[in-house]
């Protein structure tokens, strides 16, 4: 397990996402209202580019004809077959126990902390004045 610096925080403002490659894995970094999440860009169903899917809210229901809508923007729908995944956990809605996508720890770290290491930041130089996205894997 190592901590990888993958982007400047300012590159991924709220409501946006960025695809990065860490140790050969494509990972989607999402900024949801200032919180960062990271998911493997591979749907466990048939391998679709999950992190290019649409973010929607969670809808549940207690009775036919009622729609309980919550957590807007926290469910990621695979662009291939529409399976929904929880941005926070990677679990699928339909089969959370056995169908899930790998979710990674993401933190935002100031450059001055990063400069002390130990971090893997081969791809770009770290400046102590800025904040950076760090993914652990």
């Amino acid at each position: 397990m190592a901590r990888h610096v993958v982007a400047k925080a300012e590159e991924i403002p709220p409501g946006s996402r960025k695809l990065v490659t860490v140790r050969g894995r494509e990972i989607g970094i999402f900024n949801h209202e200032g919180e960062f999440f990271a998911l493997l860009n591979r749907c466990p169903h048939q391998g679709g580019a999950l992190c290019k899917g649409t973010l929607v809210g969670l809808v549940t229901s207690d009775a036919p004809g009622t729609y309980d809508y919550s957590r807007p923007g926290e469910m990621l729908k695979c662009p291939w077959h529409g399976w929904e995944f929880d941005l926070r956990t990677g679990q699928s809605y339909c089969d959370p126990k056995s169908t899930w996508v790998r979710a990674y720890e993401v933190t935002v770290e100031p450059g001055e902390v990063l400069a002390k290491g130990p971090f893997v930041a081969e791809t770009f130089p770290v400046s102590i004045e800025e904040n950076y996205i760090v993914v652990e894997l």
Partner: protein, 353 residues
């Protein structure tokens, strides 16, 4: 061959000799209307009386098939060693545009069945016939008839101009669920609308095959409209549906649910799980694989020993001899299908009249 059935047959078909048999059971206005109009009846066009499949050759006696109680006793009851058999009239009341006429016809059919068949033969049970075009009146008929324990399910046609899971049929769902009366959907067409989603086919043989799709659409309607969510006690019994199409249908239904479940958030488990709990299917006509060795594979794919119910479909010609189970049907499952499964889905069936 031994009597393989010796159980509960959930689908036999007595028939009205003619519409005039209902006149004594109709309000005076309506029997006069039918007489004055010369209305000739509402027999199912799926089974033309002289067609070979409408009655087994060894059961034909010159009369219109299904009209003789003696023939029913001899062939449908004694012939199979049947303890109890459920009578379903394939009389097309759902096709009657005038809902008032449909309602009084359905009520008359139930009265006629009780008086002319059930009262004379204690081994018989019957469907509650309803006119679904007036759901409120249909629910009232269920309510009225539920007091008589010889009525064990509520009959609906597979093909109509709508799908019976829809909310406007809630009065029917509610009444049926409250009295533990399964809704029995029978291969039947009202012929008031095209029988395929591509319009009218040219031949009756196409209508018969198109039924499988109609059953699938009805099952999905009950799941996705949330009928089982609203009424967990509700059960469906499919009659003359066949069952070989079911595994493929369930696989596809589950796959589609995973993609589109946000459209129906009250469906929070896979459709296959909901349907396995709430649906039972009659054995005949059994579209079994040509190779009997493959039948156990199909049964395993159906998933569950609780699914099938014994039926002979008397007097229709679905199989020869006195064993309604298709070749290759596991001996260990027979008692379940003939006794345990029907008793579980028909809690009223053992109540003495």
């Amino acid at each position: 061959m031994p009597h393989a059935a010796s159980g509960i047959d959930c689908d036999i078909h007595p028939a009205l000799p003619s519409i005039s048999a209902l006149f004594p059971y109709l309000p005076a206005y309506w029997s006069e209307q039918l007489r004055v109009r010369g209305t000739d009846g509402f027999d199912s066009i799926l089974y033309p009386p002289n067609a070979g499949f409408s009655c087994r050759a060894d059961w034909r006696d010159g009369a219109k098939p299904g009209t003789s109680l003696e023939a029913l006793r001899r062939h449908a009851l004694d012939g199979f060693g049947t303890r109890i058999a459920v009578c379903n009239l394939l009389y097309n009341v759902a096709a009657v545009r005038n809902a008032d006429l449909g309602t009084v016809l359905a009520r008359a059919m139930n009265d006629w069945l009780a008086a002319e068949w059930l009262d004379r033969e204690p081994r018989l049970r019957a469907a509650i016939h309803i006119a679904p075009q007036d759901p409120g009146a249909a629910a009232e008929e269920i309510e009225r008839r539920a007091a008589d324990p010889r009525f064990v399910h509520v009959l609906l046609p597979a093909m109509d101009e709508t799908l019976f899971g829809k909310r406007l049929f809630r009065p029917i769902h509610e009444a049926a669920a409250r009295h533990r009366l399964p809704l029995a959907i029978h291969a039947q067409m009202t012929a008031t609308h095209a029988t395929t989603s591509n319009g009218w086919p040219s031949h009756l043989a196409e209508d018969h095959i198109a039924m499988a799709h109609a059953f699938q659409a009805q099952l999905l309607s009950f799941v996705y409209e949330g009928a089982f969510t609203a009424f967990p006690e509700l059960r469906l019994v499919l009659l003359e549906s066949g069952f070989a199409w079911l595994p493929n249908f369930l696989w596809r239904a589950d796959r589609t649910w995973k993609a589109m479940r946000a459209e129906v958030p009250w469906v929070d488990t896979p459709p296959s799980a909901i349907l396995r709990e709430h649906v039972r299917i009659a054995l005949q006509p059994a579209e079994a694989p040509p190779d009997p060795a493959q039948l156990p594979i199909l049964l395993e794919q159906l998933g569950g020993d609780e699914l099938l119910l014994l039926s002979t479909d008397w007097p229709h010609a679905q199989f020869a001899g006195n064993d309604p189970f298709p070749a290759g049907f596991p001996a260990t499952l027979r008692r379940r299908v003939a006794e345990d499964n029907p008793r579980a889905v028909y809690p009223r069936i053992e109540v003495s009249p």
